[in-house]
């Protein structure tokens, strides 16, 4: 029965390749990725095409204005992150995955790595395209800007990094909760809505703390000009990295202990 000439062996690079293959061989990936891209690009064009200098939005940051669709796109990509992990528990695929890679942890790190690479690249490319397309309409308004303007490229990249890190939090929640609806609920409730509620509480300390919550930090990363009442980009990026690391550390610790 032997047809192999190379000796099969489990390696991290191969697990990464396997996760890459898994990602692109289900429709949900294409659906979420195309939805996210279409939303960002579509809303960006809409914002550009309908913008008028006397419409009262002159004080809005150009990159934020252009990437309004990001908030919706981020949800689609968070769902993708959840499907990558929790989706395997829903289908039972996780049993096959962890039988092939009984060390377990390489599966989670490969998933996170593939997701990061794909989402970061895709979101940044979408952001560039959206900005340049929107500028076709904005060039004769007070929102005219170019990629070389101060902070523009950094904000386009920062937005992509923010969305990617939010998605990694979703991926981590999916791996922890092992349920797609559960993780979507936790992400929408805990990551998106809860900070908004906390921010409304009449405590100044709370208001300051909320700046470093994931969605607020991601927002601060995507602005070409400093946002009032927001964390600095550097602090926001650090906060987001810590949130993502913490959210991924939980399933990493649990993965070794829990039965599949």
């Amino acid at each position: 029965m032997t047809t192999a000439t190379v000796t099969p062996r489990l390696t991290h690079a191969r697990v990464l390749h396997s996760e890459w293959h898994k990602l692109w061989t289900v429709r949900s990936t294409w659906i979420t990725v195309l939805t996210a891209t279409a939303l960002v690009l579509g809303v960006g064009i809409l914002m550009g095409a309908t913008y008028t200098s006397d419409g009262g939005d002159s004080d809005v940051d150009t990159v934020i204005l252009t990437l309004y669709g990001s908030q919706l796109g981020a949800i689609a990509l968070a769902v993708l992150g959840i499907l990558v992990t929790a989706g395997e528990y829903a289908s039972g695929m996780i049993r096959a995955s962890l039988t092939a890679v009984p060390g377990r942890l390489p599966v989670l790190t490969a998933k996170a790595a593939v997701y990061t690479g794909v989402t970061l690249t895709l979101t940044f490319a979408t952001n560039l395209l959206t900005f340049l397309t929107a500028q076709v309409f904005l060039s004769d308004t007070d929102q005219a800007a170019s990629l070389t303007d101060d902070g523009v490229l950094a904000a386009l990249a920062g937005n992509a990094a923010g969305i990617t890190l939010l998605g990694l939090i979703a991926l981590g929640l999916g791996a922890t909760l092992r349920s797609v609806p559960g993780a979507i609920g936790a992400f929408v409730g805990g990551v998106m809505i809860l900070p908004e509620v906390l921010g409304m509480l009449p405590y100044e300390a709370m208001e300051t703390a909320v700046r470093y919550f994931p969605t607020q930090a991601a927002g601060a990363l995507g602005s070409a000009t400093p946002l009032p009442g927001a964390a600095s980009p550097g602090a926001a990026l650090l906060a987001l990295l810590l949130w993502a690391a913490a959210t991924l550390a939980v399933p990493a610790l649990l993965l070794k202990r829990r039965d599949v």
Partner: protein
Amino acid sequence: MIRAENLTKRYGDTTVVQDLSFTVQPGAVTGFLGPNGAGKSTTLRMILGLDAPTRGHATVDGRPYARHGAPLTRVGALLEARSVHPGRSARHHLTALALTHGIPRSRVDRVLAVTGLTHVADKRVKGFSLGMGQRLGIAAALLGDPATVVLDEPVNGLDPEGVLWIRTLLKSLAAEGRTVLVSSHLMSEMALTAEHLIVIGKGRLLADTTVDALVRASGGASVKVVTPEADRLRNLLPGAGITLEAPDTLLVTGPDAPEIGRTAAAHGLPLHELTPRAASLEQAFMALTHDSVEYQGALA
């Protein structure tokens, strides 16, 4: 070779597997038998490292499954529930698993052919019948050309042709010198496939034996004798186990049919029927597991 030593699995107060020790040798099909809920699947999951034993441990070829450098080439497993993303095609599913080990794509084609799935290889698994799903699970098990094959209830959902195919496959895998462990709750199926049997009930080892020995231990063969002179024949067979099934029908264990026939002829007793009966394996299995069936039906 699989070795389980004092395997124990508890979930809270419920003990699913209790102090289970056995060895599965290469070169033969070993049946892993027990009523539903006996702990078969849990035991197999512990062998594969999916469930951690509360106590004890299991090894494959001398080490825990997870410690092997190329686990898919050591053990190929078909687990009970479907372990496939329904939206992925059979080929993509197998390729994803093969990629983790650098198993060539030609091997994916090969196992698809062996399991008869080539014509549906690019269809999404969602549309597969139960039998096709089982075949895909077996294809995944064979992917690494493993020295040990573990199959949990492989004939479930297969049509008669598929059942026959599994039997032939298991025997040929064993004949190639592989270790083959197959779980089932159907004694009749195992009788046709397995040489060795590990029987468990309520998580405990009930028997670690061969099919032949199990039959013998369960009382062995008997002979049905119909004669109008039942009482006289009975007295002529001292030492035999005799039960009177009807006024003219005896069930005799001990002496075989020729011996009973000779005795009757020597004394001029007419015999209307003399039928050797092999003990049903099913009955042997039932006798063995009677006390450990999780859900016993009561006759109203």
